[in-house]
Symmetry: C2
């Protein structure tokens, strides 16, 4: 196996096909991620443009429109649901609290708009399934931006090419201090009616979970987990800290930790029968890959791309070409099933099987 | 917190007390570890000497005696149990298959000899308990050599001093290709009647488990696990590959992987509320420690000591001074309880509580 050939084997934006035109976007939910990451990213993508901002607050929507030259119109949630200004956008980017994804997706679908929905897909499997069903006739993509990172895509190619033999174990960790990032204990990520069953697994445990699925081309079939919350701010959610143990359908054993109240740390390690891949940091600014095979350790630094720009560029490309899009709703739904199984496993102190549908993702 | 002060805070061999005299050792079990690692290590330790070699095979015992100038006598197992040449040694080092530790320890104790027993203590909790009981009146130490490594001891001091805040998560992995190391599918590590319940958790999963206990000054109270075997050579044991999830009594969540049939890889990561410690490689030749706190990453390289020399030097020191010795039998017994809980948890697909006795170790 020639690792270097593998490194050269995939081109930059290998998914890109010839297109013309522009996808006009309505962004829904104007939290810091949308304003500081998503809108600036779209401004750098040729094939799309943000034209509409949707928020619970008319003032916020208006302020965001005034601050960004591409934007034409600010809408309240009610106005959006009424179909206001729908001639101004072709697709929506949903970045609201998890438990509000469904109504926005339903409205977007009823208006015939394509949907790029942030992960996790919704707050429960039941609601996520309804979201997928609602979007049956429009393009639906889930915003797993880490799947766009060149280091992650090359790592997957290396695994597919046999660089580490058969995968045996994955170790992943993702932690941050949520209250240092957003200094407010009343935020939606700590409110089960908006976030779903918990704060850490849903919001950041999903990164090692989903990246492992992407790297292995394999899906979890069984979950075990433990979690606890002791701080006051985390009293409403069970997982201030969590650990979970997944068995994948290729027999790989995946262990992960996630916490919204710990030192910021991210890494992903895939150990196979013949070698190992290690990505650190992971899940956001990842560029560095260490590959160990036999006695040889190789270090690669891949380009640091803006993952949100990659996400929007790919989404726009697929909407314009009508080519299959992914990670699709079914892919996102399997993370939801896994996350629900993780919470159930922790509550019941028992392993929980996960139904496997596994329609292949397009991406 | 001043990390540098912490680095300087413990002296080399901080456990060492003034002694005179020599501890003469009988080594029991003449596999590659005893012959290639243990005996050469003892030869470099001033306070002890190997005088007797005990083996199932008279020829092997004789050959080892002939090859090593310190050795005076080779014994068969039967001769050892009969008390032959007991005037030639003061203590025994037991490095036989796990399920044979008990009878050698019983004989040694009945002869009034101190015991340094390899880990795991025995093949089951029941047998390990009998071993501890049998050694009630003699010094008993368990051979957790990784606890002697300067990098590990300094990491523990840093955690104790608050360098990473409160520990939240530990991730540990240990894997190797057993059949590349010992090219024989009929070896004792793959035979449940000699190794215990499995091959990977007992033999190498015990390293991240025990090092986590040492670093955290805390013990597991609950285990969850998954494991599988698919290769013919591993048909008799359940854990060609294993993952386990432990809850410690300080609420730290510890996730580990272990495999005797994977690429050789070792690491240990401790994530706290304020920072992170990372040791890689771990459990054998470890010297490098990365400490991350706030935005600062510090790298330390500690001396590479021969862990077996450290182990024997400490053991001899404690035998000569009659000071408390550790890791003691109770410490080793808690690993046995944890390991048994891991296998039970994997078999039952349910969390298994672990009794906590936790008599403090002396070390």
């Amino acid at each position: 196996m020639d690792l270097e050939a593998c490194v050269d084997s995939i081109a930059e934006r290998e998914w890109q096909t010839e297109t013309s035109g522009t996808v006009r976007l309505a962004v829904i939910g104007l939290g810091w991620w949308t304003v500081e990451e998503a809108i600036p990213a779209v401004e750098n993508v040729e094939a799309c443009r943000v034209t509409v901002a949707v928020s619970g607050s008319q003032e916020k929507a208006t302020a965001v429109v005034e601050d960004h030259h591409q934007l034409e119109r600010g809408l309240t949630y009610d106005e959006f649901h009424d179909g206001a200004a729908s001639q101004l956008y072709d697709a929506v980017y949903i970045c609201s609290p998890n438990a509000l994804h469904l109504p926005y997706a339903e409205t977007a679908a009823s208006l015939g708009k394509a949907v790029l929905c942030e992960k996790p897909l919704e707050a429960s499997v039941e609601r996520a399934s309804r979201l997928v069903d609602a979007c049956a006739n429009i393009p639906l993509m889930v915003g797993y931006r880490m799947q766009t990172a060149p280091v992650v895509r090359h790592a997957r190619e290396m695994i597919r090419a046999g660089a580490i033999g058969d995968p045996v174990h994955v170790l992943g960790n993702n932690s941050q201090s949520l209250l240092e990032l957003i200094d407010d204990p009343d935020q939606w990520r700590l409110d089960p009616s908006l976030v779903g069953e918990g704060a850490s697994v849903t919001d950041i445990g999903i990164y090692p979970l989903n990246t492992a699925r992407f790297l292995l081309d394999s899906d979890p079939v069984r979950a075990q987990a433990t979690m606890s919350s002791t701080s006051d701010a985390f009293a409403a959610v069970p997982d201030e800290r969590a650990g979970f143990l997944l068995t994948f359908d290729d027999e790989t054993i995946v262990v992960c930790t996630a916490s919204q109240n710990a030192h910021a740390s991210t890494s992903l390690r895939v150990i196979g029968t013949e070698g190992e891949l290690h990505i650190e940091p992971a899940f956001h600014m990842e560029t560095k890959l260490r590959v160990t095979r036999g006695g040889t350790e190789s270090h690669y630094t891949f380009p640091e791309t803006n993952q949100m720009e990659e996400l929007f560029a790919y989404f726009a490309n697929r909407v314009l070409t009508s080519d299959p899009i992914g990670p699709n709703g079914e892919h996102g739904l399997h993370d939801m099933r896994t996350i629900e199984a993780i919470y159930e496993a922790a509550a019941d102190s028992a392993a929980v099987p996960i139904d496997t549908p596994s329609v292949d993702q397009a991406n």
